[in-house]
Symmetry: C2
Subunit: 463 residues, 2 copies
Amino acid sequence: MAFFGKRFIGDIPQLEAQPVVLGGMVWRIRNHGKVAFCDLYDATGTIQCVASRDAPEALKVLQTIRPMTPLVVRGIVHRRPEHLVNPNEPLGAWEVALEEARPLAQPAEPPFDLDSTDLSIETLLDYRPITARRPRERAIFRVQATIVRAYRAALEARHFTEIQAPKIVGGDAEGGANVFPVQYLRGVPASLATSPQLYKQIMVGALERVYAVGPVFRAEKHATTRHLNEYVSLDAEMGFIEDHTDVMAVLEEVVRAIVAEVCSQHSDSLALLGAEPPLVPEKQPFPSIRFPEALDLITEHTGRDVRGEPDLAPEDERWLSQWARERYGSDFLFVTHYPSQKRPFYTMLDPDDPALTRSFDLLFRGVEIATGGQRLHREEDYLRRLRERGFNPSVFQFYLQAFRYGMPPHGGWGMGLERLTQKMLGLASVKEATLFVRDITRIDSRLFAESSQPSHAADEANA
Amino acid sequence: MAFFGKRFIGDIPQLEAQPVVLGGMVWRIRNHGKVAFCDLYDATGTIQCVASRDAPEALKVLQTIRPMTPLVVRGIVHRRPEHLVNPNEPLGAWEVALEEARPLAQPAEPPFDLDSTDLSIETLLDYRPITARRPRERAIFRVQATIVRAYRAALEARHFTEIQAPKIVGGDAEGGANVFPVQYLRGVPASLATSPQLYKQIMVGALERVYAVGPVFRAEKHATTRHLNEYVSLDAEMGFIEDHTDVMAVLEEVVRAIVAEVCSQHSDSLALLGAEPPLVPEKQPFPSIRFPEALDLITEHTGRDVRGEPDLAPEDERWLSQWARERYGSDFLFVTHYPSQKRPFYTMLDPDDPALTRSFDLLFRGVEIATGGQRLHREEDYLRRLRERGFNPSVFQFYLQAFRYGMPPHGGWGMGLERLTQKMLGLASVKEATLFVRDITRIDSRLFAESSQPSHAADEANA
């Protein structure tokens, strides 16, 4: 279609010995005088192109262009000699002998070596429009797209319907200082949603099983490798459950489906990133531990007395993950029955111990990636709980209709896409798994930048 | 799994004469004394349940519960007598003879007749948590989920990768007063994205073909049947195009795939809503008309002299749609080559007439549902255009990296999910196709409500 029959690089293996037109971006260039090579990437893969003196004009093009030149080429598909082929590169067995090469733009010289393995996170983000083009980053964000696709497919196979939850909200629903104020029309105060929670619960009454994928916003002043101020939440909510374990069972199936899809579609990306496939127990469900027992275990084994704590500290989550990996061969661990004081107002208490809740977190390689549980479903329970927590129920009038007019027992979860991507790929920071980071220091560019010179991780470590 | 082997209603046709446990919400109840019926719906469909004196306790339950009671039932699947079956109801051939029925909550009496066919839009939205449960609304939002799924599938089959575009943005990129201010951390001024435009362009340099589905925000003070202040935009962007017609060709394939999927999956919903399947030309592409010729045509046929206008008025779009339907048998019409003054700064001018652009709108049944075109791809063109329009290029420093370091010719579109849903289903207002409306009068609830008594369309028409 475009450019007179441009084909995709991914189709090359079906085109041996045939003429082909490709369009893509130049990455590395290797000029040996009589012959020159470049790596060309498009939507589907990367291929080596070669120009020799048989095609002097194409050779001259390869000898004069810069990396990241958009290039249209015409040539013949060849198999490469077997001893040169790297088995981790799916298209490494092929190359295109160029007859013609046409640059579509003249890019500036890259501001630093894009193939460098020690770019600092600040440089990665300051220059995201070009660092996103690195093989490493293309791999990360393709895997992320697969995670989302596998998430949706697993839920749709289980009769969940996608809903569109709004992001501008009125009342401060979850009740915290951590919301971003928005100035709505006619000066009406509003804020950005910290979660689609209330909307997905509402929709259980209509569609029984719903899911939502979308941005959520937290005005938290963290500066860690785990936090973002805008991130993508993978949410789901389901009706007709007996308790939170029904929700956990579906979440586990979904997570297993994601892991299987990433491992089967992206073994080359995992190899490129040096990431190990997640360890999942094969004939057992994900291990699960109750919160009070988790505290006992940590106290017993680490010497830190955490009994009576209302929540797990980051180091506790790391220790528990390591424990589950050693004991159960699992990179995933459910922690259940968190204390009610740390859980939101809509959380169902544990009838056997009302200081605890029918809730869970899912830990993955040391970090909480999902949180969920059973919710209250009767209006009178909401009214009592809201008053206990000092909320004015009239602020929740719209939402409370769902319970006044009949709701089944229900529950669900929210899962952070960037954390899941980070931990799946063994990345040092969640920001490496985020295309355009919003955090305490930046919205695309740094908010209070003194300088945005490229920096290297090693420099920063020395600073 | 949940509730001791609860099955889904959609599986009923495979369960003839078998015992089954179902969980769902009660809709209509019909009590005939010796026998009582209810319609029960779940994530997968609606089924009639019947209780007779053979099961006196189940009969008593059906005789005493209210609509929207969440109910778990046990019974035997039967085929219904053929003369009672409505062919538009996929599960109408089956019923479940109850042995047991257990209500899981005691809902309040509905505040108005939910089956009423003339609820006003205000009542529909004020009571969305329960009006979303109506068969009509469940059909609308299931079709909407299918539209999004078909959109993604069509693009993924064409090598587009999904990206996550941020919603909090810094500089006012598209340059207009129509943005919602957000108070970011440490008082940094920010706003809500009116489009993922800059981000999807950036990502063409990395992934060649990308798409994004997500909310966008427009602080426009419209009060029409076409406008929302928060809506879902179906975006895509692709590299290595020759001009805007390459983009139109892909958009047309995607729209055809959506129409085909909705018609094949939801014939019952279309029937319920009285919606006609969209007319698409079978052996021809979608018709297309250049903007100046469109103005001539309107002037010639309607007597209104619109020559020299910079844009199409809503009545012009309606007239053109009607013309395309009569002339080409198509509910879809491309209008191309809009004047540059009404198009954003990144728009590629038409080299044959620089007062016009390589741009298009897609009209569907009288409304613009998508807008797109070819973009500039060279840094110098951006710098010149930004200065011409009075922008400070340094505000766009981050984005401009994409062009400085090499970008292919590219283009794309944005399509409004709610408008597409509305027009596909023949709904009077885009708000009927929006679960939780944000407009000049409401965020969930009305912003300045005097009263939120239920009202009927007829009452409002009289007012």
